[in-house]
């Protein structure tokens, strides 16, 4: 497993080379970025094989997965720069390397002809390197650095078309919003370090399990850490950046804002589950509550969004909320299973939406419609993704969602369970809506419809691969499949933190969720097929509710008000202080003092040699007196 460090190092090297020499490489070096990530993907299998070799039954000695170097050492304090491979990291490695590879291949078609084609691949390589480092980091400092690196990569890519004002605004919004959470993460890390004196994760876990932290202290620390996850994973109330982040190129949305970066928050909570488990139960309740709020808000907002990418963005927030609920129910395996399945069908949804946008240059659903006839392949794979998101058997989304429903039903009260069932219905409803509005019915924009056609093979191939995985990925829940793939005891037992925990398949949950989903599908067809007359009437009937959803629960307005009234006012005071006290008095004042003193001092420079000689002799005499007094 010593080669694990190569996995992030390769894309990082690709980034550096592309940045420096990308202009001179044939095809702007896209092959280099793809080659680097493909090699990382291959390396993943070697690392996985090593990991399976090192396992004894279903047990795995974590120390075997660690590698690294000593970075800083002063006094008693040592800082290691290390990587940790374990079951959790393996799942993320698989997802990140594979999705990045798919997205890069797809991008060679999607981004063709873009003036900053090379820079696009460089930025994605940077992002991939940071994300893989984040996954492998075995201490909090490295994790935090990678966390910020991921945020920076996301910023670059959201604002990739920075000629568009909305893109730069969205990039800033994403960066600043997630930064609010990042500050919480940093505070949490510092709190953990203050008591334990180390940044190493496993040492901190041991420290927490041996009761080194008081319960209140640990609860406070994990809530601060959770704030980081809230920002990155677009949970309520910091979810506002993700829909706007759709200003970036669509493959970027697929990679960063669906399959990888936004699940970093989920991964963080999963990674730190020992801390959450050791803290007061209120911490997990907060996680559940935030997750559930996010699920309900995003699902309802998805109902009225008119931009195809935004609908998928809301469905992403919805999924992330589900994962948080699973984590709040102490089930890492359910969350990771959903993460795994979600990455395939969400990337599929984004990339096929990208094909639609690429072909029609429209992304408002009101200008699409009837595209199934023109783009049958895209329509088919999009439908597969949408059905998976809706949770229709036997697609990946169904198994993963049922597992979450199951653990939530077991460990949470019936309110949570009920809301989750409701969200399944709404999810199916809005996924059906977007499929119908985009691909079925009559084309609303004839001209766009005329030119639309399925994309070139380099873009279609990743779609088909992802669609295949969307169909099949769910079967890993069966122990037999997992064992056949070489995972002792099945995948469910492979990805665990606290004791063996297999996947369940209770019939009541499955039947109930399938009924909800099918009801959602039927409802979707009822409301939006044809001229969508029932949907219009429903909108009229519930006009206030419709308006609230349209305005996104006024979240953006609240933030805008807060920024205008609170942040800018406070900023004004600080700016006045900075201008008058710091700048005019402190900086300019000291500079003026220096000028004044220099003006006075220059008269000492007479230019006459005897004066200088006298000064030298005086200095010698003074030094002699000093030495004679102290007797050196």
């Amino acid at each position: 497993m010593e080669e694990a460090w190569l996995i992030p190092a390769l894309p990082a090297a690709a980034f550096v080379i592309l940045l420096l020499f990308g202009k001179y490489l044939p095809r702007h070096g896209d092959w280099l970025a793809i080659g680097a990530i493909a090699t990382s993907f291959v390396l993943f299998f070697f690392v996985l094989a090593d990991l399976l070799d090192d396992m004894v039954g279903t047990e795995f000695d974590k120390a075997l997965g660690q590698s690294g170097i000593e970075w800083v050492s002063f006094g008693d304090f040592e800082l290691r720069l290390g990587f940790q491979v374990d079951q959790l990291a393996i799942v993320m490695l698989a997802v990140v390397t594979f999705i990045t590879l798919m997205v890069l291949v797809y991008s060679t078609g999607y981004m063709k002809g873009d003036p900053r084609y090379g820079w696009y691949f460089a930025a994605i390589s940077l992002f991939a390197a940071a994300m893989l480092t984040l996954v492998l980091a075995d201490n909090f400092l490295l994790l935090y650095a990678a966390w910020e690196g991921v945020g920076f990569g996301s910023y670059l890519l959201i604002g990739f078309w920075h000629e568009k004002r909305s893109a730069t605004e969205a990039a800033k919004k994403a960066f600043i919003t997630t930064r609010i959470g990042d500050v919480g993460l940093l505070i949490g890390i510092i709190l953990l370090w203050r008591e334990a004196g180390t940044f190493d994760m496993s040492e901190i876990f041991e420290f927490a399990e041996s009761g080194g932290y008081s319960s209140e202290y640990l609860t406070m620390a994990v809530l601060f850490l959770f704030a980081g996850a809230v920002g990155k994973s677009a949970q309520f109330p910091l979810h506002v950046w993700l829909p706007d982040a759709m200003e970036g190129p669509t493959p970027v949305s697929a990679l960063i804002h669906a399959a990888t970066m936004v699940v970093a928050g989920v991964y963080l909570v999963a990674r730190l589950m020992p801390l959450f488990a050791a803290a007061d139960p209120i911490a997990l309740n907060v996680v559940t509550a935030i997750g559930l709020t996010t699920v309900m808000m995003s699902a309802t907002m998805g109902l009225v969004a008119t931009d195809i990418k935004r609908v998928i963005a809301y469905s992403t927030i919805n999924s992330l909320g589900l994962m948080m609920v699973a984590l709040g129910s102490l089930s890492v395996s359910a969350a990771m299973l959903y993460l795994f399945a979600h990455s395939f069908f969400k990337a599929l949804l984004f990339l096929s939406a990208g094909s639609v946008i690429h072909a029609t240059e429209r992304q408002e659903v009101s200008e699409l419609g009837g595209l199934a006839r023109r783009m049958p392949v895209t329509a088919a794979v999009f439908a597969v993704g949408a059905l998976s998101m809706a949770g229709i058997v036997p697609l990946a989304g169904f198994w993963a969602k049922d597992e979450i429903l199951n653990v939530a039903g077991d460990s949470q009260n019936f309110v949570v369970y009920g809301f989750l069932m409701l969200s399944v219905f709404i999810t199916a409803l809005y996924m059906t809506r977007v499929v119908i509005l985009t691909f079925l019915g009559e084309p609303r924009d004839r001209e766009a419809h005329q030119h639309a056609h399925d994309a070139e093979p380099v873009m279609t191939l990743p779609l088909l691969l992802l669609a295949g995985l969307t169909v099949m990925a769910g079967f890993v829940v069966f122990d037999g499949v997992g064992e056949a793939l070489g995972f002792p005891g099945g995948i469910g037992e492979f990805v665990f933190l606290e004791g063996p925990e297999a996947f369940h398949f209770p019939w009541d949950v499955a039947v109930l969720s399938t009924l909800s989903a099918v009801a959602g599908l039927a409802g979707g067809f009822y409301f939006w097929s044809g001229a969508a007359e029932p949907a219009r009437r429903a909108g009229e009937l519930f006009r206030p509710a419709y308006e609230i959803l349209k305005r996104k629960f006024f979240m953006d307005d609240i933030y805008q008000w807060a920024i205008d009234r609170v942040v800018l006012a406070a900023g004004g005071v600080i700016a006045w202080f900075d201008r008058n006290v710091v700048n005019d008095t402190g900086v300019d004042g000291s500079a003026r003092l220096g000028v004044f003193a220099g003006f006075g001092m220059k008269f000492l420079e007479t230019g006459k040699l005897p004066n200088y000689a006298l000064a030298i002799v005086t200095g010698v005499i003074v030094l002699a007196i000093v030495f004679m007094v102290v007797r050196v």
């Binding site: 230019g607 040699l609 005897p610 000689a613 002799v617």
Partner: protein, 102 residues
């Protein structure tokens, strides 16, 4: 015999007179002469230390030889510079050559 302090005091007197000359005189040639006096004082010190305290090493004697050598070179160069200044500025007084200032 003469104790070493006698020579040291003599060298101190000579050096102080040299200091006075360097500081008080304004003609460059006179300043050079005062510097020579200071060098003589240093030589006396070196030799006295060598023959009294460390006659087995006599590094001070060697140093005095080098002091005389370097002093000869220094006088040659300094007088060349004085000549040049005199030709350019029409004076050999150091307080009249004060271009290097604000």
């Amino acid at each position: 015999m003469i104790p070493i302090e006698n020579f040291l005091v003599l060298s101190g007197i000579l050096f102080s007179i040299g200091i006075y000359g360097v500081l008080a005189r304004r003609n460059a040639v006179l300043i050079i002469m005062s510097v020579e006096l200071m060098l003589q004082a240093v030589s006396i010190n070196f030799i006295a230390f060598a023959v009294y305290l460390h006659p087995e090493q006599f590094t001070g004697l060697i140093f005095a030889i080098f002091v005389i050598t370097i002093a000869a070179a220094e006088v040659g160069l300094a007088l060349g510079i004085i000549l040049r200044i005199f030709r350019n500025k029409g004076t050999a007084n150091v307080d009249e050559v004060d271009m290097l200032k604000w």
